[in-house]
């Protein structure tokens, strides 16, 4: 963003004037004529000199000395601080929460968040984080559940660097996170920098450091738009403490203009609609869309054209409902036309741009980790069952979600009554076939989950299996990654909501599960939803403070420990390495296990004020504990169950 050359009569200018005034006042003690001059300038009548050449006291001074008046009340010269306007701008963007660990560089903003407005501390509500890494990952988890950003507030250079890992992870996961960092150049030198955002610029999508209040309001709006526009990612606005505190009595918040999403053109929409309508057996492969509205549109299109669909809902959020009657291989797996929505490998694939492409246009160094390619890392894939039809065409670079209305309208325009009848017949066949496939799959799945059912330590399959009957009739969200816990929900649970499963960490960074679940639970709190966090033990120890945040804010979250007492993946890596070197595995535990002593996570939770129980080693006691946990989470009392598990 262009730097402004504007100047403002800000806090620093005010302080300079005040200092000059104070100096003048001090001088008045020895230079009475100056006092007279000042009095004349202010229109106050100058007293006549006394006998000794000292000015006679004014009437006001006499009144004060004699107790006839009270001392003057403190005068509030800041009637409308810039931070109030910033908060109002954020409120008008629909931001529900701001998570922060306190810091002096944003004291002005924090005061506005908690006191400005009626009611104060709503939209956004201030969420107390115990670490900036947690604050940003909370925003990461929230955005994956809701399809829109919340705000993370960071304190100067130190807060940005504390949050950096989470920023990187959100960037890699293409998740919109809005961040504001405070910058106070007049307080602690180590907490400020000439280019604060530079520390995370390689993995933020956009940043700005506005110099005036007016610019700050525009920057906040643009940061929001940049975050939610494909390729989505974290954005950062650095706000100086001065403009947070400056008075802005006449500043107006600029009208918000939503971003423009790149869509396919009308000609392409007609072509795709025609292909879908005329196909004998069309297929739609749905990857990760942006918002729940996009998911709804994908369902609408599939139902309109009677296409069997694949989903990425078991790999992450915002995809086609897994148990929808059209989701599955369908009655005939020879597809004559396939449309990919944020997936590759179809005759027509509409996929948004990669972050790497955006980064290349920036005036900054790109660290070159390859960006995120649509279709990779669980966002794409052919999904459930079936094979594609003809050879794939190069993807059309546009936002699939924003393009769907164009295709839907074209389909509606082109469909004939004969085609509608044929489609209804096809839907009936697909529905029956998918239901049969579902029953076959679930029968095979439960057979495989029997393994180790009564074993000790407890099998990870049993955790997911015992959980499912307890939550299947609830509105639930599995917010924790399951890649280290067997992923048993994929087969056993029904992922029918855009937020059913929020997927992996993004960049594989640990310290994600608990704070992301807290973020998802913030989204769930007002929506009568519960969040399940199957929490790996190594991961929890990066940011256990979020347990307190969950309790403090009364979040509906159940944490079930997958406690294998190790960073187990690494343990296996080291075992193999020792093996190929012929040195044996008896020391592979060094540095990759959590033993001597074992951690007691129920006690840890208790320390943070969270109800819980465990460690549980007897599998027959698991179900009752989970029942207690679900009930507690539903009451808004987060709960932790420590389960000693098999490694995987």
């Amino acid at each position: 963003m262009a730097k402004s050359n504007k100047t403002s009569v800000g806090r620093r200018g005010f302080l300079r004037n005040a200092a000059a005034g104070a100096a003048a006042g001090a001088a008045a003690l020895v230079t009475p004529p100056l006092v007279n001059a000042q009095a004349q300038n202010t229109g106050t009548a100058a007293p006549s000199p006394g006998a000794a050449g000292v000015p006679a006291p004014t009437q006001a001074q006499i009144d004060r000395e004699t107790g006839n008046v009270r001392p003057p009340a403190t005068v509030h010269t800041i009637t409308r601080p810039g931070s109030d306007l910033m908060v109002q701008t954020i409120r008008e963007l629909g931001i529900e929460y701001v998570a922060a660990n306190p810091g002096s560089s944003f004291e002005g903003l924090q005061e506005s968040f908690i006191n400005y407005g009626n009611p104060p501390n709503r939209m956004p509500e201030f969420i107390t984080a115990l670490h900036e890494e947690s604050a940003v990952t909370m925003a990461h988890g929230y955005a994956k559940a809701e399809g829109k950003p919340m705000l993370a507030l960071l304190h100067g250079t130190i807060g940005i660097q504390h949050g950096a890992m989470s920023v990187y992870q959100a960037y890699y996961d293409r998740v919109p996170v809005l961040m504001i960092a405070g910058n106070d150049p007049d307080f602690i030198a180590a907490h400020t920098a000439h280019d604060m955002a530079g520390m995370v610029r390689s993995y933020t999508k956009w940043d700005a450091e506005p110099k005036t209040i007016d610019e700050a309001l525009v920057a906040i709006q643009r940061a929001y738009n940049e975050a939610i526009t494909p390729p989505m990612g974290p954005t950062l606005v650095v706000l100086g403490s001065e403009i947070q505190k400056d008075n802005a009595p006449n500043t107006k918040i600029p009208a918000y203009k939503p971003p423009v999403f790149v869509t396919i053109d009308a000609t392409r929409a007609k072509e795709i609609a025609k292909s879908l309508v005329e196909a004998q057996n069309p297929r739609i492969a749905v990857g990760r869309l942006r918002t729940p509205e996009g998911v709804q549109r994908s369902v609408e299109l599939a139902e309109l054209v009677g296409a069997s669909t694949s989903t990425a809902a078991t790999g992450g959020p915002m995809s086609f409902p897994q148990r929808h009657h059209l989701c599955g291989p369908g009655a005939d797996t020879t597809y004559d036309y396939t449309l990919g929505l944020e997936t590759g490998g179809a005759q027509a694939s509409i996929t948004g741009p990669a972050l790497s492409k955006t980064a290349a246009t920036r005036d900054s160094v790109h660290i070159g980790f390859g960006g995120t390619v649509p279709g990779a890392g669980g966002r794409g894939g052919g999904g459930r069952g079936g094979r594609g039809g003809a050879a794939a065409a190069p993807p059309i670079e546009a936002d699939a979600e924003a393009s769907l209305p164009l295709i839907i309208e074209e389909v509606k325009r082109q469909l004939t009554s004969d085609q509608k009848a044929r489609i209804q017949a096809r839907i009936a066949k697909h529905t029956t076939a998918n239901h049969e496939a579902r029953l076959t799959a679930i029968t095979q799945a439960v057979e495989s989950k029997r393994a180790g059912w009564n074993g000790t330590p407890i099998s990870t399959a049993r955790i997911y299996a015992e959980l499912w009957p307890l939550i299947m009739n609830e509105d639930w969200c599995l917010a924790s990654p399951s890649n280290f816990s067997g992923g048993h929900h994929v087969q056993l649970w029904d992922h029918n909501k855009p937020y059913s499963y929020l997927g992996g960490q993004g960049a594989g960074g640990m310290g994600y599960g608990a704070p992301a679940s807290v973020g998802a639970a913030l989204a769930a709190k007002a929506r009568n939803r519960i969040v399940v966090n199957v929490q790996t033990d190594g991961d929890l120890n990066y940011s256990p403070g979020v347990l307190w945040t969950a309790v403090h804010h009364k979040l509906p979250m159940l944490t079930v420990m997958h406690n294998n007492r190790a960073w187990h993946q690494e343990y296996m890596f080291v075992e193999y390495m020792a093996g190929v070197r012929g040195r044996g595995d008896d020391r592979a535990h060094i540095g990759s296990t959590l033993r001597d002593p074992y951690l007691d996570y129920a006690k840890m939770a208790a320390g943070y004020g969270m109800a819980g129980e465990g460690p549980i080693t007897d599998p027959t006691k698991l179900s009752a504990a989970l029942k207690r946990g679900v009930a507690s989470a539903k009451r808004g009392e987060p709960y932790l169950i420590d389960v000693i598990t098999q490694p995987r």
Partner: protein, 157 residues
């Protein structure tokens, strides 16, 4: 990904699977997971000491990939004895794993040289794992799993 699948196929039953990125591209069918196998335990002779083997099974991290009971994890072997049919076959298998470090981290079955794990220790481990038995009840005796199937049957057709 193709390379990964071929690799997994080659190492078959007794090597752990790479699961770090296993979520990629997974569709609605979910993860695999072979049904509980019911191949009877081998009856070949056992010469090792099972009690000693129990300690070695833990110390040498066998549980990491095969579970504490040999029936969970990426490479469960209870009911699928394969390379574990005989004591000598087991020892030969331990010695015959790869001895070249890959560039990428691997969770494949490690190699156990005789300097790292003696024949006696290997046979003790074998004696211990031969004591493993399935703890899996019959499906009809697991109400939770039956409830899951019943719920699926009730899903809207």
């Amino acid at each position: 990904m193709k390379k990964y699948y071929v690799f997994v196929a080659l190492i078959a039953l007794t090597a752990p699977a790479v699961t770090l990125n296993a979520q990629g591209g997974r569709g609605g069918g979910g993860r695999g997971g072979a049904p509980v196998a019911n191949v009877p335990a081998p009856t070949s002779p056992v010469t090792g000491n099972a009690a000693s083997g129990k300690a070695l099974y833990a110390t040498y991290g066998c549980y990491a990939c095969h579970g504490y009971n040999g029936e969970t994890g990426a490479r469960a072997f209870v009911g699928r004895w394969g390379n574990l049919a005989t004591e000598q076959g087991f020892v030969t298998f331990l010695r015959g794993r790869a001895n070249v470090a890959p560039l990428a981290p691997s969770t494949s079955m490690p190699s156990f040289s005789d300097t790292a794990l003696s024949d006696k220790q290997a046979k003790d481990i074998y004696a211990y794992i031969r004591t493993f038995k399935s703890t899996a009840p019959e499906l009809k005796d697991i109400p939770t799993l039956n409830a899951i199937v019943d719920a699926a049957k009730q899903e809207k057709k």
